[in-house]
């Protein structure tokens, strides 16, 4: 089992913490994992993306050139990464913010209204968790338990309510697909 994931969106959408959560959950599940953020020079407003590898075998390169899954959190990300997705791979699109449609027909495409779902729960800030939930359900690469256990590790200073909310958002994401 090998999953190379790229997750991409605006800075401020929680791309990096979602990626770390993925990696942590993979580790908790007993898999090999790597996480690599693309860090920009600008502090805010730029695009943010990260690469996560989850694998049952030792991971050679942490570089994900051809992702098995691409998680798209905003419009520019689709344009930038669509072409690189591996044939037969998965394109997970936050359709709340992405109006355009992918051109590829050799990949699986799944739309999730992550912002709307999150907004209903009280804050768009957890749209990232909705997407991760959906990812977990669709690929089975990581377990919900793994994710849940990892939340506290990734956000060590977060209050329990926040953790609970995140956890709820993960679930909603799983249910949405």
């Amino acid at each position: 089992m090998y999953q190379g994931v790229i997750m991409s969106g605006f800075g401020g959408q929680g791309i990096i913490s979602a990626g770390i959560l993925l990696a942590y959950a993979g580790m908790t599940d007993g898999k090999y994992v790597t996480f690599f953020p693309a860090y920009g020079a600008e502090m805010r407003g730029g695009t943010a993306n990260c690469s996560v590898v989850i694998s049952s075998e030792e991971i050679a390169s942490p570089v994900v050139a051809y992702p098995d899954t691409l998680v798209v959190m905003n419009e520019p990300s689709l344009a930038r990464f669509e072409a690189s997705v591996r044939k037969g791979g998965l394109l997970l699109i936050n359709s709340s913010l992405v109006a355009g449609k992918p051109k590829r027909d050799d990949v699986k495409v799944q739309y999730i209204q992550a912002n709307e779902i999150a907004e209903k729960m009280g804050t768009t800030k957890i749209a990232n968790m909705v997407m991760i939930g959906a990812y977990s359900k669709l690929t089975g690469a990581i377990s919900f338990e793994g994710l849940k256990k990892s939340l506290q590790k990734v956000f060590p200073r977060a209050r329990q309510e926040i953790i609970d909310l995140d956890s709820e958002a993960l679930k909603k994401g799983m249910e949405a697909v």
Partner: protein, 67 residues
């Protein structure tokens, strides 16, 4: 009538113009722009005097003032 124009591509929704305007002419849009930010809009256009104070503090030179 005096008025301001906000360039929604430049505006980053910092709200500095909102507090700078002595007549509370400016508020924030509820809809985000293509940039992901919620831009400034005139909420009481009739009160604008064209004093340019908003434009003076705008860090993104997003405001033009007409009189």
């Amino acid at each position: 009538m005096p008025r301001i124009e906000v360039d929604t591509i430049r505006c980053k929704g910092c709200e500095l113009c909102v507090v700078a305007c002595p007549y509370k002419v400016i508020g924030m849009s509820k809809k985000f722009a293509s940039t992901g930010y919620y831009p400034a809009v005139m909420v009481k256009p009739e009160k604008c005097t064209g004093c340019t104070l908003c434009a003076l503090v705008c860090p993104d030179v997003a405001i033009e003032v007409y009189k």
